[in-house]
């Protein structure tokens, strides 16, 4: 069953069309990767889904509901969380304050405490640093905080934008490991990555984007063996 369906989506920045009629769907329980070069429109798609950028045309359905015009702040309580590009943690607030803000829309105090415990179990380093100001964390720790913060809303769909960007290889492996675990816990993942190799290794299916269009799609394993994908994105 599709948790997210995107139909013929188009997005403009002023007069420039960034997304040119894209359709794809994400099924319950899947990890879907959107891969492509810089400027292909990956981030734009995620930001349009979570209501940060308005869509010019097309429709977005989440669990069967049309969310194309739903304001971004209402999507969190519907079960969508977004780990933004560049992490965007609240640098002047503590780790704990950041995590609590992730649960902003929730009212079940006990449930929030429970989720906090689970986030700390997943990211022990965040617990060690819970009273530290987020701006002083390393890049990898900030990425973990951004992911933990998104998990605090207890999402059914989590969209992640370039989670491995700017991280050391050790952190990259750790982050992808965690994405796999989050998915196995029952959260559907829509992943945007420049690290196509890692993304295809973890994803069920993938879509390849070029200048605002989907040029290839299919099973992640098949795409990994596709010659043009190999040439363009896997540097082989």
């Amino acid at each position: 069953m599709a948790i997210l369906e995107v139909h013929d989506l188009s997005v403009y920045y002023g007069v420039i069309q960034a997304i040119k009629g894209i359709s794809f769907e994400v099924n319950q329980g899947e990890i879907i990767a959107l891969i492509g070069a810089n400027g292909a429109g990956k981030t734009t798609i995620l930001q349009t889904i979570t209501g940060l950028i308005p869509a010019k045309g097309g429709k977005i359905f989440y669990e069967g509901t049309d969310i194309t015009r739903t304001p971004g702040h209402k999507l969190v309580s519907m079960g969508i969380a977004h780990v933004p590009e560049g992490r965007r943690v609240f640098a002047q607030l503590t780790v704990l304050q950041n995590l609590k803000l992730g649960a902003f829309t929730r009212k079940d105090k006990d449930g929030i405490e429970d989720t906090l415990k689970r986030v700390y179990a997943r990211f022990p380093r965040l617990k060690e640093r819970q009273n530290q100001v987020a701006g002083t964390l390393s890049g990898g720790e900030q990425q973990m905080l951004a992911m933990g913060r998104a998990l605090m809303s207890h999402p059914r769909l989590i969209v992640m934008d370039e989670p491995s960007m700017g991280l050391s290889p050790i952190y990259v492996n750790e982050i992808f490991d965690i994405i796999g675990k989050i998915n196995r816990d029952g959260t559907t993942v829509l992943l945007v990555e420049q690290n196509a190799k890692k993304a295809l290794a973890i994803a069920n299916r993938a879509y390849v984007l070029e200048t605002g269009k989907i040029v290839l799609s299919g099973d992640a394993k098949d795409l990994m063996n596709n010659d043009s994908v190999k040439k363009a994105y896997l540097s082989e």
């Binding site: 979570t50 209501g51 940060l52 304001p71 971004g72 702040h73 209402k74 999507l75 969190v76 309580s77 969380a81 977004h82 933004p84 560049g86 965007r88 943690v89 609240f90 640098a91 002047q92 607030l93 304050q97 609590k100 803000l101 992730g102 902003f104 829309t105 701006g135 913060r149 998104a150 809303s153 700017g166």
Partner: protein, 293 residues
């Protein structure tokens, strides 16, 4: 003894600047705009108290509550009608709109109340305080003003640190987009900020006119500019900065009036601002904007 009196009066005046400066600094911190109509909300608050107490004969406390309600509603209306449609606009457009709103409020007050100076009856009816065996008198307004400032600072700080709305304000002030991703309604958070700032302006207006009892439609503009100076001075966007900036401004102004020249006091205050900004462009407690890597 006279120095002490000047100092206490300076702290009291500074407390009023600090209460007004909170409105500037919170709105700047959260909505990233300079609300130059803020000073005129003080004037509206003072006229509201004046009308309720002197014209309608209500008790001062009820008059103050009415003024807070009116100013809060006014602040929300201004935000909704004038500033919200400009949320994505350039800061210059917003600034010009704010100046326009300021003129609008002044001229509406001229239309309704006329340009005559009104004699404001102090809302503080407590007796004056005699200290050091009667050698020194501190007016009750002075004391009440300082107490009000302390209470407001404590209340506001705990509101921001211990409520969800307060945390949302911090989040919005740091990153509007990321705040939206947390499920925070940015427009609503900005509206709450205007409501708080305007309510504080009403309190400041009542205290200011209790201290200096002449009221005209222009009463708010000079204290407004000085409180804005105090906010910049302390570091705009910072709540403790507004307090420190306000207090320093009030004390310096009062001491220069007493010991140097009452005509030069404003010049001294603003020169001090220029010097501080040359040395510390972000103000005393202002944070440097960190470049994200």
């Amino acid at each position: 003894m006279s120095f002490l009196t000047y100092l206490i009066n300076g702290i009291s005046l500074g407390s009023i600047y600090a209460i007004i400066a909170l409105g500037y600094t919170m709105v700047y911190g959260i909505a990233r705009m300079l609300n130059f109509a803020h000073g005129d909300i003080i004037m509206v608050g003072a006229f509201a108290v004046f009308t309720a107490v002197s014209t309608l004969g209500m008790p001062p406390f009820i008059g103050l509550i009415a003024a807070i309600a009116i100013c809060t509603a006014l602040g929300l209306t201004i935000e909704f009608v004038a500033y919200r449609p400009l949320r994505g606009a350039t800061s210059l457009a917003v600034l010009i709109t704010a100046i326009g709103v300021s003129y609008l409020l002044q001229n509406l007050a001229l239309l309704i109340f006329g340009s005559n100076t009104r004699q404001f009856t102090s809302i503080v009816t407590l007796p004056n305080l005699k200290l050091a065996g009667g050698k020194m008198t501190v007016s009750s307004v002075t004391i009440v003003t300082i107490v009000c400032c302390i209470v407001i600072m404590i209340a506001l700080t705990s509101f921001i640190n211990h409520t969800k709305t307060g945390q949302a304000m911090l989040a919005v002030s740091e990153d509007r987009g990321a705040a939206t991703l947390m499920g925070i309604n940015v427009n609503r958070t900005i509206a709450v900020t205007f409501a708080i700032g305007s309510a504080l302006a009403a309190v400041a207006g009542a205290l200011l006119c209790s201290m200096y009892p002449s009221l005209t439609p222009y009463t708010g503009s000079m204290p407004g500019i000085k409180a804005f100076t105090a906010a910049v001075f302390g570091g705009i966007g910072s709540i403790p900065g507004a307090l420190i900036g306000g207090l320093i401004l009030g004390v310096v102004e009062n001491l220069s009036k007493a010991y140097i020249s009452s005509q030069l006091s404003d010049a001294i205050v603003f020169s001090l601002l220029i010097i501080i900004l040359l040395v510390r462009p972000t103000g005393i407690l202002g944070k440097k904007i960190q470049e994200k890597v």
